[in-house]
């Protein structure tokens, strides 16, 4: 039961931390909406074009704006030593990575999930496609969280080139974009595509604790 208490206290801490930095998350969402505006300004107000490529726009911008918050993933906790304290408190590095991934999903990705309907209204996406967009984003955003965990733990010791983390996430998220946009565009294939996406999720989720844990350990050892 001690481990359960530790998990609860971990999330209590994450909750407090994210609550105090709530404007960061809001800024992320504002970035998302401003980019939608920019996109529409550059395409033109033609209704048909916008609703044709609306889902692709939403997904691209969701990906871009969720890479913005990557630095917060481990960097702060690494720099003020909390990562080490958590480890000394009996959580293994892989387990910290899993907990952090869920925390990122809850505190960063879920607000995006809630803002999708508004984006759909802005982009004239048909109501019946909303459910597909929603379910694909629910799975896809968790994959993004896992990839974000991997790439930001890799970049902990990288003092020169923070953008590299976002590039790593973006290059590995090619399949997610393809399948997620595919789901929304081809509803008859819904189940098979969701299963593929779910399969990718399982693979990435399995790699995540190993890769992130190893990177966290490396960075703490050599810091």
């Amino acid at each position: 039961m001690i481990i359960l208490n530790k998990i609860i206290s971990f999330y209590y801490r994450e909750y407090k931390l994210n609550l105090s930095g709530f404007q960061d998350i809001l800024t992320n969402i504002i970035f998302f909406f401003v980019s939608i505006f920019i996109f529409i300004f550059s395409i033109g107000p033609d209704k048909e074009t916008i609703s044709n490529i609306g889902i692709s726009i939403v997904w691209t911008l969701l990906l871009l704006s969720s890479t913005l918050s990557l630095r917060k993933f481990y960097q702060d906790d690494f720099e003020n030593g909390n990562l080490l304290i958590m480890h000394l408190n009996g959580l293994s590095f892989g387990f910290i990575a899993i907990l952090k991934t869920f925390s990122h999903f809850i505190f960063v990705q879920v607000p995006f999930l809630l803002s999708i309907p508004i984006a759909c209204i802005l982009l004239n996406i048909a109501d019946d496609k909303l459910i597909y967009l929603f379910s694909s984003f629910a799975i896809g955003s968790f994959i993004l969280s896992c990839l974000g965990s991997i790439s930001s733990s890799m970049n902990l010791m990288n003092q020169r080139n923070f953008l590299l983390g976002s590039v790593i996430v973006m290059i590995f998220s090619v399949p997610i974009i393809i399948f997620s946009v595919g789901i929304a565009n081809l509803e008859e294939d819904f189940n098979s595509l969701i299963s593929i996406l779910f399969g990718i999720l399982l693979i990435v989720f399995a790699i995540n604790p190993w890769a992130s844990g190893l990177c966290l350990k490396l960075s703490l050892e050599n810091n």
Binding site: L17, N80, G81, L84
Partner: protein
């Protein structure tokens, strides 16, 4: 409890120190002395199993540290030379988070007493980033009491503190020693803390 035998550490093939021997029993306070870059932090990190020694071994309660890691982590508090309190939250919230994380059952009045002796009680509702560096450092020592562990590993606990606070800390160390606890800390400056052994790196 902790025994270090012939420990040598190399990093990127540069020798940091060689053949260090230590024995930290209960009720003992060890001071690590040495110049900047002499490997004090490295030795403390090696004690926490964060750095692989190139030769030698560390034992915890008679067993190799690596084999007995969980038990060791349950008995150790580490305070690094940086402050781990969350700067966006208030002192009160930080204490609450610590109490939850370390599953501590320390009472509120006890915490208040310590805060009073450390002269931090007036800042209870202020954010940590409005405190001065010395004050956040003092706040960090609260963790020692909250965690309530046997072994304290402290990295430069005395830097940036005024004499008054150092006296308080010396008193805390004395209390801990009388409770059969053991402390190992590093420092590059002279202090009035009553230590049982000095190790020069």
């Amino acid at each position: 409890m902790i025994i270090v035998k012939d420990l040598s550490i190399e990093r990127s093939n540069k020798k940091i120190f060689e053949n260090v021997n230590l024995s930290l029993g209960s009720g003992k306070i060890i001071l690590l002395k040495g110049k900047n870059g002499s490997g004090k932090t490295t030795l403390l990190k090696a004690l926490l199993n964060l750095i692989e020694p190139s030769s030698g071994a560390i034992y915890w309660k008679g067993k190799l540290l690596k084999k007995n890691l969980n038990n060791f982590f349950n008995n150790v508090t580490y305070i690094a030379d940086r402050t781990s309190s969350l700067s966006k939250l208030s002192v009160k919230e930080n204490i609450k988070i610590w109490k939850k994380i370390f599953l501590s059952n320390i009472s509120n009045s006890q915490v208040e007493n310590i805060l009073k002796t450390l002269k931090l009680d007036i800042y209870l509702d202020q954010k940590v980033n409005s405190l001065s560096f010395g004050e956040t450092k003092k706040l960090e020592f609260l963790r020692l009491i909250i965690e309530n562990k046997k072994v304290w590993i402290l990295d430069e606990p005395l830097s940036n503190l005024d004499n008054e606070s150092i006296d308080v800390i010396a008193q805390t160390f004395e209390d801990h020693r009388s409770k059969e606890g053991s402390i190992i800390f590093s420092s590059h400056q002279e202090s009035e803390i009553n230590v049982s052994e000095e190790v020069l790196l």
